[in-house]
Amino acid sequence: MQNIIEVERLRKSFGRTVALDGLDLAVRSGEVHGFLGPNGAGKSTALRVLLGLLRADGGRATLLGGDPWRDAVALHRRLAYVPGDVTLWPSLSGGETIDLLGRLRGGLAPGRRDELLERFELDPKKKGRAYSKGNRQKVALIAAFASDTELLLLDEPTSGLDPLMEEVFRECVAEERDRGRSVLLSSHILAEVEALCDRVTIIRRGKTAESGTLAELRHLTRTSVEAELAAAPASGSLEGALAALPGLTGLDVRNLHVRCEVDTDHLGTLISTLSSCGIKTLSSRPPTLEELFLRHYEDDAASVPAGAAR
């Protein structure tokens, strides 16, 4: 499979503020790729470099096989973009804006446009300034989904949408994937990313913190394990035996009740130690994306001195 977006060691500063500090990102053709990070991590800057709106200071970015800065216009015929904060032309109606944006990309499928208007329950006759935030977002989403493009760049596209509309959005993204289109979905809504994305890149302070499929990412981290045992080990205390195991954290032993987190690589060793004592009940749970994310975020918060965070 070939990469539709390739970013290597991308750097971009605004004055003394470093927004991107060696970002790596690879989006494969036909996948929905989640782009996760807290506010101010550099997600929007990265997307805007990919759109040729910003000129990178260093590193390499390739989009649909072209240079996002040099080939901007040609590349933009093949992609659709939804910004996180949509501003509309105050004197244009929503319907006019959808048609205009679609035509500027090279055409809309009219049937699809009307179908999407209905699914998103948008009144296309209102003027731009009369729409609420969620409805402005819908205008940009409909214009993007109704365009016949290979790639969708979505920058926190569901901000302001109600849960019902978020569900419609998820269906639409799934349909796009089924049509063979690629999607780069920047978000900090983890449930959304978890539900939609094949692969994920987590960005932290302008750098790639982790990248891979959700399964791979989980593999790199710890699994929570909770067990009730039949008996203590023959020699020594239960606690001592477990504490000696590699890759174990958060150990909590009460009588024969064990709770801990273990590096996924060492899960097997833990289970065999536990089973030597006779397992009565056992539950193990892979980490949620939220836990993955929080782990990076907490590291981040801990390593940034107070006041340096923006």
């Binding site: 216009v73 910004p83 244009l92 319907g95 205009l100 500027l104 300034r129």
Partner: protein
């Protein structure tokens, strides 16, 4: 104070501070420009025409130029420094303050509502009309202080105290009146741009009505215009304080009307309701050019009507202009020197065309600065994310300052040609001559547009500042250069000083070509910069 009244005023002090903070650069620039023009004018008159004899000579010369009376206001007493300053700066200063009022009131009321920021403020413990009260406080207060300071400066320059304060306050009252006008127009439409447009239309009409009155010698029209009132206070020449009182009363009445209207409308909407639009884009709405047309057509149409009327009014006065001269022997000499009746008419029309060129330059800067407001407003980003190139997008907007300005100048020339031609019985010649005289001003407009685009490409944050300061300098040099006997080295900085003084002279192609070349070079520079820089 009753509880209700206290509630209505809640938040005013904080909003006043906020507005003062946000205007801490702009308002001082305005004040400084006005203070420097009035003070500088008075000081120059004092050094240039220090003896009564030299002043009399001046009064019989430039002071009797009827074109100046039409365009800048009627002189009442040109034998004193104060009287000279009043004639030169009274109406002009009031117009400057009126612009300051309209822009500032609009920015802190309707534009705030439109941007959605007022919602944030209005949700606090803030009275419904607090923003309007606060901005009027800031604007009226600043202008009052400015008026007093202008008076003090004139007193320091040795002028009588009563006349000095009256002149300062007359200029300030011109600003007050239009602050009140703007307070009403921001209630009417739900769109900042049209609210400001409406207020500027009132200002333009006030200027033309006054010009008509001062140019025709009939006093009636002058009294219909608030700018006429500011002139009719006659500082240093009778000191008619009651006319100032009239202006203050009218201001108070208009402000009361503004609050009455404000009390009846919803936050965020105007008195004229917004209508729904079409459900889909018309077939023509398929390019950025079509989009720019949608955004700019209203403004262009309004300006077109305004320029046609403005040209027509200024043209209609031309053939009676010689009559204002009077009949002393010295005047007769001057009359001959200016080339007789047709010479005077042509000199007047050339000056009028120059002024119209400067006014169109304001349209040009307004539309050029749109490049930047579209960008900062976040509306450029989604367009550039489509298959639209940067230069193509910029060109779709620049058509208005570049070609729209040419159209406006043709219309202004046509208006003047029609009325002047009809009255002088030589329609064909006058129409052709004046359309040409109007059109050649566009080369100077292109220079300031080029400068603004260069700023947009290279230092985008400075776009509007560069444009407006450039036009401001051109206006000041044009207004004050001749009477202050400024060196040509200085006045020639203004491209408008380079435009041939048509009609009545053979139009040399060279300055027009040079200015076009400069304009194009700056434009190319700006667009090249825009292609290379970050957007957003």
């Amino acid at each position: 104070m009753s509880a209700a009244a206290a509630d209505a005023l809640a938040g005013v002090p904080d909003l006043t501070k906020l507005i003062t903070r946000r205007e801490r650069i702009r308002l001082p620039i305005w004040c400084y420009a006005i203070l420097a023009s009035v003070g500088g004018t008075a000081y120059s008159f004092k050094t240039l025409y220090s003896t009564p004899g030299s002043r009399e000579q001046f009064a019989d010369g430039i002071g009797r130029d009827p074109a100046l009376a039409v365009l800048y206001g009627k002189p009442f007493d040109l034998t004193t420094i104060g009287g000279l300053t009043t004639w030169r700066m009274g109406v002009f200063g009031a117009v400057l303050l009126a612009i300051m009022s309209i822009v500032t009131v609009n920015r802190h009321t309707r534009a705030e509502e439109e941007a959605g920021r007022f919602e944030l403020v209005g949700a606090g413990a803030v009275g419904r009309h607090a923003p309007l009260i606060a901005v009027l406080r800031v604007v009226l207060g600043t202008q009052l202080a400015l008026g007093v300071i202008v008076g003090l400066v004139l007193i320091v320059l040795g002028q009588p105290a009563a006349g000095s304060f009256l002149l300062g306050l007359s200029i300030a009252a011109g600003g007050w009146f239009f602050a009140a006008v703007a307070a009403i127009t921001v209630q009417l439409t739900d769109f900042g741009r049209s609210a400001a447009g409406l207020a500027f239309t009132v200002l333009g009409a006030a200027y033309l009505v006054r010009a008509l009155g001062d140019g025709s010698g009939a006093n009636g029209p002058t009294w219909l215009s608030p700018l006429g009132w500011a002139e009719q206070t006659q500082p240093y020449a009778g000191d008619r304080w009651w006319v100032l009182a009239l202006l203050v009363l009218a201001t108070a009445a208009l402000i009361a009307v503004a609050f009455r209207i404000a009390a009846r409308r919803d936050l965020g909407s105007g008195v004229f309701p917004a209508r729904p639009g079409p459900a889909g884009g018309a077939r023509l709405l398929r390019s950025v050019s079509a989009l720019s047309w949608r955004m700019q057509r209203g403004g262009l149409f309004g300006w077109a009507v305004g320029m046609l009327i403005g040209g027509a009014v200024l043209g209609s006065i031309a053939d009676s202009i010689g009559e204002l001269l009077g009949s002393s022997a010295r005047v007769q000499q001057l009359f001959e020197r200016m080339g007789g009746q047709s010479g005077i008419e042509n000199a007047y029309l050339a000056a009028a065309m120059n002024i119209l060129g400067l006014i169109v330059a304001c349209y040009a800067i307004q539309t050029t600065a749109r490049l930047r407001t579209e960008e900062t407003g976040g509306r450029l980003e989604p367009l550039l994310a489509t298959a639209t190139g940067r230069v193509r997008w910029a060109a779709s907007h620049l058509a208005y300052p570049l070609l729209g300005s040419a159209l406006l100048l043709v219309l202004a020339g046509a208006g003047a040609g029609l009325t002047h031609g009809a009255r002088s019985g030589d329609l064909g010649t006058q129409l052709a001559q004046l359309v040409g005289a109007g059109l050649i001003q566009v080369t100077a407009v292109w220079v300031v547009v080029g400068l603004t685009v260069a700023a947009f490409g290279i230092a985008p944050r400075a776009t509007a500042y560069v444009g407006w300061i450039a036009v401001g300098i051109c206006i000041l040099l044009q207004e004050l250069g001749p009477t202050l006997k400024l060196s040509h080295w200085i006045t020639d900085i203004s491209p408008f000083a380079q435009v041939p003084r048509a009609p009545g002279v053979a139009v040399a192609a060279e300055p027009l070509l040079v200015m076009t070349a400069i304009g194009v070079a700056l434009l190319v520079l700006g667009l090249a910069g825009f292609r290379r820089r970050d957007v957003g």
